[in-house]
Symmetry: C4
Subunit: 202 residues, 4 copies
Amino acid sequence: MNKVITEFVGTFFLVMGAALGGGLGAGLALMVMVYAGGHISGAHYNPAVSLAVWIRGKSNTADMISYWMSQAAGAITAALVVANLFEVEGTSICVISDSGILKGLFAEMIGTFALAYVVLNVATAKGTSGNSFYGLAIGGTVFAMATVIGKFSGGAYNPAVAIGLSLQKTFCWSQIWIYMVGCFIGGALAGIVFKMNNPGDK
Amino acid sequence: MNKVITEFVGTFFLVMGAALGGGLGAGLALMVMVYAGGHISGAHYNPAVSLAVWIRGKSNTADMISYWMSQAAGAITAALVVANLFEVEGTSICVISDSGILKGLFAEMIGTFALAYVVLNVATAKGTSGNSFYGLAIGGTVFAMATVIGKFSGGAYNPAVAIGLSLQKTFCWSQIWIYMVGCFIGGALAGIVFKMNNPGDK
Amino acid sequence: MNKVITEFVGTFFLVMGAALGGGLGAGLALMVMVYAGGHISGAHYNPAVSLAVWIRGKSNTADMISYWMSQAAGAITAALVVANLFEVEGTSICVISDSGILKGLFAEMIGTFALAYVVLNVATAKGTSGNSFYGLAIGGTVFAMATVIGKFSGGAYNPAVAIGLSLQKTFCWSQIWIYMVGCFIGGALAGIVFKMNNPGDK
Amino acid sequence: MNKVITEFVGTFFLVMGAALGGGLGAGLALMVMVYAGGHISGAHYNPAVSLAVWIRGKSNTADMISYWMSQAAGAITAALVVANLFEVEGTSICVISDSGILKGLFAEMIGTFALAYVVLNVATAKGTSGNSFYGLAIGGTVFAMATVIGKFSGGAYNPAVAIGLSLQKTFCWSQIWIYMVGCFIGGALAGIVFKMNNPGDK
């Protein structure tokens, strides 16, 4: 239950950060919430990261599903707070143009790969255990990817963020599949690469 | 006495940072002063954080009150230095519009909740003891919240900052209650959530 | 093989960051990839850094050459992805004017010296072993040098970045020698200064 | 001798950062050079910090004087490189207006106090020994102070930086006394406050 609450709180602030503060707001919110919640839940705040951790063998299926539900609930709550309490809504115009769909799909895949690759290495690997940099590295990856390739997809790298931003009308629902497909593939690839690269680290 | 001086110095630089450097100045000043003073006083620099630490059970009532007085003194001194020595004053026009009071109240509550939640987890929890990231996480939260929801309230997240900015005329005195109510409720909620989430950590 | 994959992934994201996100994108990408890959390959992502580490005596010649090949492959892959998938290309107009060649050469030499000097001290020295700041210091150096002297050369400080940016047409091939000469001399000087300054650290 | 070389290199990059990259460039350069050189020389790069460390009792007079000479040499070299190699010079017009001299003097005093107070607490105190945040805190203080009160004096907080910027004509020689007086008083006050606040830490 502690883990579920922690994932809810962290995802809430991450999605609020993405909706109202762009790549910098999302990266900073993620950094501080990873530091605040890492010791309780591992601080995924991202269904694609939870998938990568599951592939890497550091969580069981029931945990992954409860994390997913908590992350979705945090994202939806953040979207409702932003849209109804702070009254900031998008226009539901799609962020990605029709000719940019392949770029958007690859941007989400590459960005989520980077994020999950960093998470697995800084927060679950033997070789970096006990470090103090995991939040900086994880939040920094979201800010980095938003700065570098954010323009191609709006920079979610996280299915929960994509759901939240679609509900709050910054993204459009007809493109939600791009984020789902791109993010889960990117996260899964990171899990596979991590296992290849760290054969002795179970 | 060391603690009182440390809280005074840290709050002085935080309020000067907020008055003259906005969210970035406040976040940076808080980060460096938390690293400088954490080993002496715990580096609250914020009456709402001191309340959260008291609720969490890591300080006694007398200490909380002496911290509050020291923080208020630091904030007032900073406001006087900014207004009279550097001659930078606001216009006493209220930051929050009449129709935005509810948004401002919630923004202060949510921002202070985030700040106190991060402080309790990174600076008082067993699971993160001995870390080197507490100042980055705490200062980063103020910068994050100012970036994300700063426009709704001016971004104090700290009753001492609100007093200092009101004295220096960036905020107006008629809205000081918004910051008092929002910040203390946010801090108290963080203390309650921390205790729920960390039952074995007394 | 793990090391080769790690160097490939890290250099790929560094060069993509430099091509699409400037000094901030490159510095952030380098920081997070150093934290992700340091425990596997040492996280050079830069042939001039690999040379400095070799001079300092912490790698053998075969390793240096396999790192160089992996770094070149990562840089070329990033350039192809940026140019062909994201369709962002430069104009092949040289970044450095004819009268600015000496400045460009010194800027690359000074910037790469700073980078390799920081790497050797934070990631290979006895006196800083076990620290959590190496990625921040290394990525921060690229961002610092790009901010301070980036305008004189475009700010590569890395032969692999220079190759990638030339292929993607942000740099011109006729000036590639400036980056090769400047970066390798800067890295070699850092190796020599480190050995002078740390006589007891083999 | 290692210490002298380390102070020279660090001050060189700090002054180049201040001359060509403003508060951000100076703060970043200081952060990375503190991480690179802290294990060798303590990484002062600032005569007022060396004075504070001497007052605090962590260096002897001969060391302080050799540090001062090395810092001055690094600053002068940086100024010559910036002015003659990169050909970037100021106009020797004074940064501080005649009516702003008192503000400039206090700004340098307050900023240098903050910097030396942070250095003593994060790099010389028992209670923070072994931390990984010292470079972030120290570089962050220069960036914070430049952001918050930089406009009142140009933001040196360091007599060596003031000498370098005067030689490179960003500052004017007739106001060098403001930086000397302000910085050394600020550093000395920090030493005194540290000793008061940490009576058991010799």
